[in-house]
Symmetry: C2
Subunit: 153 residues, 2 copies
DNA sequence: TATTGTTATACTCTATAACTATA
DNA sequence: TATAGTTATAGAGTATAACAATA
């Protein structure tokens, strides 16, 4: 471990390479998040989908894919999994029979409550050492990066 | 697009969920980075490996895997690829015949120069709209998150 | 014609166990 | 015994093309 720290600290080219820094930080956050969600049999993607469905009852799969920033085909298997576990249902939309309105079941909402509580605890633990101003600045910066590039494509 | 923005903006649960924010921002950065590196026939991982080898000549695969935060088996195929393209070489280490000292070839260093220049441009474009203080704060926050968790595992 | 959801598919990244050759 | 690199493999995430049903 000390060796890799030396390599890393001495590397001028990568030090402020944003993609590299984001990847490393995201890796640790996601690894920890995966562990946090394991007891609920959820992964980051299934968790995010469940949260968005509970908070936005009736939304369509295409809207959810958009909100999650994933391709529609990749969402299908996530929804399949949540439906198979009876955490959500696909309701037909009377006004547009191509689409499905996604809604959480009671079991889905109950799992949501427990998982959100666990994730909140986990995030607070991760950010415990971060001064509030750094935390706020980071969130703001991440939002702006996302927005700026969303505008281009 | 406006629909997903509404959903997203109205979602209280995920708004400040750090893992979610990081993932979305990282997604756009990585997608853009992938495009930037395509003309050089590099991906984020091969680019990072090449940069670290050029900047730290003679380092071992295990050190590189550590620095890149990936598992040794996954590094092997990356090194195979860079070696096959004659961008780097695996030199035997006389004092430890199990290990390899990784070094860039002239072609590797030339590709490095061009790719680093392109990535630097790309990053500056991404961060152009970010005030310097936000940019600095974000990098600092990302480093701290990474360090804090590296200490635990 | 365009859109919603779907199937199939392929590529990349990640993670683990087990092997070899050296130490 | 432990370590460096390797092989094999499996799981997860991502991306694209093409299709059926519906608008």
């Amino acid at each position: 471990m000390p060796q890799s720290d030396v390599i890393h600290a001495g590397d001028a080219t990568l030090r402020n390479f944003v993609g590299y820094r984001m990847k490393r930080a995201f890796n640790v956050v996601q690894a920890d998040l995966t562990k946090t969600l394991k007891p609920f049999d959820l992964r980051m993607l299934t968790y995010t989908a469940l949260v968005l469905i509970v908070d936005n009852p009736g939304l369509r799969q295409s809207q959810l894919a958009d909100a999650m920033d994933i391709e529609r085909p990749n969402l299908v298997v996530l929804i399949d999994e949540l439906e198979r576990r009876e955490l959500i249902v696909r309701d037909r939309v009377p006004t547009d029979r191509r689409a499905y309105a996604l809604r959480a079941t009671l079991a889905g909402r109950q799992l949501y409550e427990k998982a959100v509580a666990a994730v909140t605890l986990h995030e607070n633990a991760i950010l415990a050492d971060l001064p509030q101003d750094l935390r706020t600045a980071m969130i703001e910066a991440l939002k702006r990066i996302e927005k700026a590039h969303r505008g281009r494509s």
